[in-house]
Symmetry: C2
Subunit: 127 residues, 2 copies
DNA sequence: TTCAGGTTACGAATCCGGTCGTATATTGCT
DNA sequence: AGCAATATACGACCGGATTCGTAACCTGAA
């Protein structure tokens, strides 16, 4: 397994990544309009952000036509793992269980989700 | 229950808070030396940070003697909740279950912890 | 009293994320 | 060709976080 550098997207970058992950790919305008539903920043702000993300290697883009098409260059799963891992260390003293208890305690899941977690738990017990 | 303002400690502030939470209280020097085990910043940097945290109300202090004694002014639990809640929304589309699966999948807990989680799960199922 | 060591206070420099204005290029239409 | 619409590129600014140098202030020991 290759060692992945500690990518640390900022808050704004995460918002953009979410759009890219959901849609698979998108132009600056598409991203900007989706973000615009709950946030108001100028178009060039979104553009600049995505350009910087490109320089950082967080996204890739197809610039063969005038309107560039962007895609995420890091996976949702990896990013989640990075961030959750760091949080477990910095906030929960390295105990994933503490985090799980917190999350379940304050955001109770529904029946189906409970089942899902139960299944995973059963699997872990077997090992 | 009083509405708690959205306190958002920075990364550095969290490091300091962790020391304060663990020890209950500490002087600037104590905090600085503990942080120094894995980080090197000048003493006055730590001091300034803690002074700013005091102004923000994140910590309180007893300045009756020359060497001030600091304590956290927000609880670990509240802070965890804040941050985990935000992460669930921004990274897991509002699904705490997704976060739980992530955490358990990548940081497998031991037997005792599994039991603990199982207990909580059973409780949630009853509701 | 005097001085050395440790402590707080404070201002300034720097860095980085986020924001935007403006210039420049490309494209399609008339 | 000329124009309007839309894109990208780029530099500048703002604010907050972080860092540190220096001054001012105790306090205990010699």
């Amino acid at each position: 397994m290759a060692i992945s550098k500690p990518i640390k997207p900022t808050e704004s970058e995460l918002e953009i990544l979410r759009v890219l992950w959901d849609k698979g790919q998108a132009t600056v305008r598409e991203v900007h309009e989706i973000l615009g539903e709950y946030k108001d920043a100028g178009y060039t702000t979104t553009l600049k952000l995505m350009q910087i993300m490109f320089e950082k290697g967080i996204v890739k883009r197809d610039d063969s036509s005038k309107t560039h098409i962007y895609k995420a260059n890091i996976t949702r799963e990896n990013t989640q793992q990075q961030i959750v891992g760091k949080m477990i260390n910095s906030l929960f003293g390295g105990s994933s269980t503490q985090l799980v208890m917190q999350a379940l305690g304050n955001h109770a899941p529904n029946k189906e989700e409970l089942e899902e977690i139960q299944k995973l738990l059963d699997n872990l017990k077997k090992q």
